[in-house]
Amino acid sequence: MAYPTKITEFFGEDLFRLLGPKTERKSWHSLSFKEQEARKKNIPVYISTRKLGKTPSFVDILFECFKQLTLLGDKNPLMGIELPFYESLADAGEQLNMPIMNSALVPTDNLVKNAEKQRDVFLAHILLDIVFQFQPGLVFPGAGRKDSKGRIFVNDAQHRSLACMILGIDHVPLNYIESDDEYWDVQQYAAININSLQCSEFDRYRIRTQRAETSIEAGYEVDPDDQVAWDMSQVFDQNEINVTEKGDSTLDTKAKVLTGIGNMTKYWKEYGPEIATRAIQINAQCFPNSVFQTANSWGLMEFLKQQTHTNAMELDYEIQRAIKVMLPRDNQGNRLHSMIKTACKEQIEDKSLRWEPVVIAEGIRQIVQEYCEADIDWVTPKWPEPKVQYHFELSLV
């Protein structure tokens, strides 16, 4: 086996374009700690694959990753690095003198746990997340080690396996190596639980939205959290808000780009869809050329929550109009919350600025009170601890 043709045609048989001249390469581990750290900083955290089409091949994805590294020029972190090369997993096992991974449906009778190395059982997770929502297509192979006595130490998927057993299933899929060395229990556990790439908030939102859509299409019940993600996605679409991964540098514009989807989800759940939707709309319409500032929405939700004016449409319109008098430019989204927080910090003794949404809501109240010309009784936001209120005044003209 060799590198795919698409890779070698562009990067060269021995990846010259990516790694530089073969004779000048050194192994990663021969670099000093300082050199490694300097190179680590240059590794792009995030590579967008959306531009590669709906179903990019892994060759295309690998090509894109290599390309992004080479585009870094003299900051390419792999330049001058000798990468090991293996013909196959079996070859790697031989060269490294290590066991390789097998994959099979194994009997649950043979499963054991290295209790010292594995974490305890989270029973609620087994019952709520797996048993009560059981889908056989989601029982992914776990990871383990088979010793010479035939025992299989499960180092990943103990919860999945136990859930299957609760449901009467006596064979589960497992990837395992054959070894009597306990070293592998720790290694496997660490590789999956420490070194693995965690799901980002954006990924959670993206997958939940898509799962809601496919569940609806397939006639399955929609998970409540998926429903929240889907509801939010409808509001974002209506307001042309672009939800993206943090650090996505491929976007042409920052206008209405939302990277804080984790926070937005939290606020949506806390304040409810009606208030959250209104706050999102006001924020998006006030600052169409700004990065979408979740803090503004947070403060708006807190402010809207307190208002008693019965005509929501009129109320939202007047809030938006007053904010635009104060901040007339479409790209001043950051100004709204930062100006309020700065004014508060400068005028109070408590610099920790607790109750951020109430602070922003109070700032918004001062703005609408000053700039709104309609006859509306604006209600002052409530401080969580009435005895410890922040008293501050915005500079308004």
């Binding site: 430019r329 100006m339 700039y371 500079s395 003209v397």
Partner: protein, 166 residues
């Protein structure tokens, strides 16, 4: 020299009384100046604070510059013209032309930078409020072209070079 100074003066006064209310950097430079404006409601101060950033003045220098800066100027016909101190949305004479020349205040080094350097002044001395004045754009234009000696020698003769009024 005839512009509709009455109307322009009125517009400038109206803008002073009803300034733009938005936090806009083109109008109020930054949040710090905005806060100062919210407190004093004085467009002349905005202009002087702009110079504070340019010349890194102390608060004392700002106050000195503010105190010496007039609200307008009187031409040789006795016509008084208010300075259009506003920036951005507060600017009245926003287009090039005679109104702007006559009402736009520009800061001028009383002893020019080059002359002051020849005399060995430090940058601090050159840019101190004592050496800076606000004058109209048209005055600044004419002062920039000629030095004091040239003015003395030539300017009184210029009038006779124009056709006689009929």
């Amino acid at each position: 020299m005839c512009n509709d100074f009455d109307s322009v003066n009125k517009l400038i006064q109206q803008t002073k009384d009803n300034p733009f209310r938005g936090l806009d950097d083109a109008t109020y430079i930054n949040e710090s100046v905005w806060r100062d404006f919210a407190k004093h409601k004085d467009l002349k101060r905005v202009r002087v604070l702009d110079l504070q950033y340019k010349y890194r003045w102390t608060d004392e220098q700002v106050e000195r510059m503010y105190a010496k800066t007039p609200d307008g100027w009187t031409d040789d016909f006795g016509v008084y013209r208010l300075f259009d101190f506003g920036k951005g949305e507060n600017k009245v004479c926003s287009e090039d032309g005679i109104d702007r020349q006559l009402h736009e205040p520009q800061h001028d080094h009383i002893t020019s930078r080059s002359e002051a350097k020849d005399k060995g002044w430090s940058e601090k001395e050159i840019n101190d409020p004592d050496n800076i004045q606000y004058i109209s754009a048209i005055q600044n234009l004419m002062k920039n072209y000629f030095n004091k000696e040239q003015w003395k020698a030539v300017s009184p003769t210029i009038l006779s070079l124009f056709p006689v009024d009929r």
